[in-house]
């Protein structure tokens, strides 16, 4: 009996129906609603330049757009924070034990100390 990898699709498909239902509802909404005509961009407009200008709020773009200067700064900070966060999460303690998961009022729940040998890395 060959043991080919078989996909673990099984009993837990039921929740998928919720996604299908959501799709149905949204499609119903979209189909029954009418939209105006698309204004589109002027043919000769330099879209990428206007995006660049809109990004930093520099006037004189072919196509108008709001200024995202503050958003740009914020997203920079966010990315930096994300980077530091991920490093922190991945870092191991000096004594080799990982970040322990504390739960239920500070009681050490899991996390391998050096003491228990059988836990593999």
């Amino acid at each position: 009996m060959t043991s080919r990898p078989r996909s673990k699709i099984g009993s837990h498909l039921l929740p998928g129906l919720a996604a299908v239902a959501l799709f149905a509802v949204i499609t119903a909404a979209v189909l029954t609603s009418s939209f105006g005509s698309t204004q589109g961009f002027p043919a000769d407009a330099n879209i990428v330049a206007s995006v660049g200008r809109a990004m930093f709020g520099i006037p004189g773009a072919d196509v108008t757009g709001e200024s995202f200067l503050v958003a740009f700064i914020l997203i920079a900070l966010a990315l930096d924070a994300a980077l530091d966060g991920s490093l922190l999460l991945a870092k191991r303690e000096e004594d080799g034990s990982t970040v322990t998961l504390l739960a239920d009022g500070g009681r050490r729940l899991f996390g391998r100390d050096d003491a228990d040998e059988e836990g593999e890395d």
Binding site: K8, I9, H12, L13, P15, G16, A18, A19, V20, L22, F23, I26, T27, V30, L31, F35, T38, Q39, G40, F41, P42, I47, S50, V51, A54, M55, A61, V63, T64, G65, E66, F68, A71, F72, I75, A78, L79, A81, A82, L83, G85, S86, L87, L88, L89, A90, T98, V99, T100, L101, A103, D104, L109, F110, G111, R112, G119
Partner: protein, 101 residues
Amino acid sequence: MAVPPSYYLLLSAALFCIGVAGVLTRRNALLFLMSIELMLNAANVNFVYFSQFWGNVTGQTFSLFVIALAAAEVAIGIGIILVLYRNFDGVDVTEATTMRW
């Protein structure tokens, strides 16, 4: 002849619902991240289309920010999954149920 708007909306809805289905049916935490990426990109589709629909470049610039944020989100997501793996010997979401009633 310009493509009617409902098609784009249907496309992004489909993408979004596939992402949701991915989250709901799978048990692997990594796949959650992938599905969430899919859902975010569905939103981007809408942004870009409606940017063109309204003739205003804000939609596009905003989708860039969405992508950036998605990246940050994945970074943290991966970190958390790493810790999850270390603590629960696997990334199966249905086993890590200590945070319950």
